[in-house]
C-alpha cells in the first residue's frame, strides 16, 4: 500500500457521505466511482461480496468521481443518484445504475429515466430536484476531494484512509488482514 502524502484520503468520512454498514467498523472502505465506468460496473458485485463477507466489520462509503469527458452520462447519473438521495433512495439508485449499466449507458438520458421508473420515484419531483445547485456542489466536492486524495482513475478505493493500488483479490485480503489484526 502506498503511503505517499498524495494518496491519503484528504476529506474525512462524515455525515455528508453516503455510507452503508457499521459506522464503528474496523475498516472504512471509500470508493470513488463513476456510474458509467465499465471498471466500476465490474467492481460493483465484488464490493457487494466484500460487504457481505465482512458485514459488521465494514463501513462502506461511496463518493462521486464522474469522468464526464470519457463517459458522457456519468455526471447525469451521479446527479440522478443525488436526486434519489433526497428521497432517501441513494443506495437503491446506486445499485440500479451499476446493475443496469450495460442497458442504460448506450441510451443516455432515456436510459436513465428507466431507473426513475424502476425505483417508483416521481418523475416530476426528480426533475425538479435535479435543478437544485446543491446537487452539483455535492458531486464537485466529492470529485475535487478525490483529486486531492490522489484518485487517479475509477474506481479508486481507500482502506482506512489510504489509497489502495492493486487488484481486487489483494484488496479483499488487505481488508481481511486489517480486521484480523483488530480481532
Amino acid at each position: 500500500m502506498t503511503m505517499h502524502e498524495d494518496s491519503i484520503l484528504a476529506v474525512p468520512v462524515s455525515a455528508h457521505d453516503h455510507a452503508q454498514g457499521n459506522i464503528h467498523a474496523v475498516v472504512t472502505l471509500v470508493e470513488y466511482g463513476d456510474f458509467q465506468c465499465p471498471a466500476c460496473g465490474s467492481a460493483y458485485p465484488l464490493v457487494k461480496q466484500i460487504q457481505h463477507r465482512y458485514a459488521g466489520n465494514l463501513h462502506f462509503v461511496f463518493r462521486h468521481f464522474p469522468l464526464s469527458q470519457a463517459h458522457p452520462y456519468a455526471q447525469l447519473a451521479a446527479e440522478l443518484a443525488e436526486a434519489a438521495a433526497v428521497e432517501g433512495r441513494f443506495w437503491a439508485m446506486h445499485d440500479w445504475l451499476y446493475e443496469n449499466q450495460a442497458a442504460w449507458a448506450p441510451r443516455g438520458g432515456a436510459g436513465l429515466e428507466a431507473g426513475v421508473r424502476a425505483l417508483g420515484l416521481d418523475e416530476a419531483t426528480i426533475a425538479a430536484t435535479l435543478r437544485d445547485p446543491d446537487i452539483d456542489t455535492h458531486i464537485r466536492r466529492d470529485f475535487m476531494g478525490g483529486v486531492r486524495s490522489g484518485v487517479n482513475g475509477t474506481p479508486s478505493f481507500y482502506v482506512n484512509g489510504y489509497l489502495y493500488q492493486g487488484d481486487f483479490d489483494a484488496l479483499v485480503h488487505s481488508i481481511g488482514r486489517v480486521i484480523a489484526r483488530q480481532a
Partner: protein, 170 residues
C-alpha cells in the same frame, strides 16, 4: 542525466501538436504550465492519467495553468487519441529527433525508447517549480499538481498579503 529539479530553467521547445500546427513553451510566458510526459498513447481509459487531467482543465485554468502532454507518439496518433477521448488540451509529439525534449528534461527511458511518466510545473517566468517521477505503470493522479500550483506565489497572493492590503488588491 537525471530529471530536472525545481529551481531549474525549463528547457525551451517547439513540438508538433497536430500534423500542421506547433506549440512552443515560450508562448505560455506569464502563465503556469503543467508538462505531463507519458510513455504512450492508447492506455486503458478508466485508469488513464490524461482522462483525469482532461476533467481538471477548469481547475488548472483557475490556477492560471495550461496543460501540455508529451509523448514520442506521432502527431497522427495524437490526433486520433484526442478525438477519440475528447481531450481538450495539446498532445505534443516528441517524435523527431525522437525523445529530444524528454532527454532535455531528463526523463527519456533509453531502453524502451519512450518518455517516462514525469510531471513538471513551470511558472510564468519559465522556471520549474515542482517535478515528480512516477514508476512507468503508476498513474500519479493530480493531487501533486494541484498542490504545486496552489503553492505558487502568483496563485497565493491573497494568503501572503496582510488582510487589509489583500482587500485593496483589485
Amino acid at each position: 542525466m537525471s530529471m530536472l529539479a525545481a529551481g531549474t530553467a525549463a528547457p525551451e521547445f517547439t513540438l508538433h501538436s497536430t500534423p500542421d500546427q506547433s506549440v512552443a513553451l515560450k508562448e505560455f510566458h506569464g502563465r503556469n504550465v503543467i508538462l505531463a510526459f507519458y510513455p504512450a498513447d492508447w492506455s486503458p481509459v478508466c485508469s488513464d492519467q490524461l482522462a483525469l487531467y482532461n476533467e481538471l482543465l477548469d481547475e488548472f485554468a483557475r490556477l492560471n495553468a495550461q496543460l501540455l502532454a508529451i509523448s514520442v507518439d506521432g502527431a497522427w496518433s495524437h490526433a486520433a487519441l484526442a478525438r477519440e477521448r475528447k481531450y481538450h488540451f495539446p498532445l505534443l509529439s516528441d517524435f523527431e529527433p525522437k525523445g529530444q525534449v524528454a532527454r532535455a528534461y531528463g526523463v527519456y527511458e533509453e531502453q524502451a525508447g519512450v518518455a517516462r511518466r514525469a510531471l513538471f510545473v513551470i511558472d510564468g517566468d519559465g522556471v520549474i517549480r515542482w517535478s515528480h517521477l512516477s514508476p512507468m505503470g503508476v498513474n500519479p493522479g493530480a493531487a501533486g499538481i494541484v498542490k504545486a500550483l496552489e503553492a505558487l506565489p502568483s496563485n497565493n497572493i491573497q494568503k501572503t498579503l496582510p488582510a487589509d492590503v489583500a482587500q485593496e488588491t483589485p
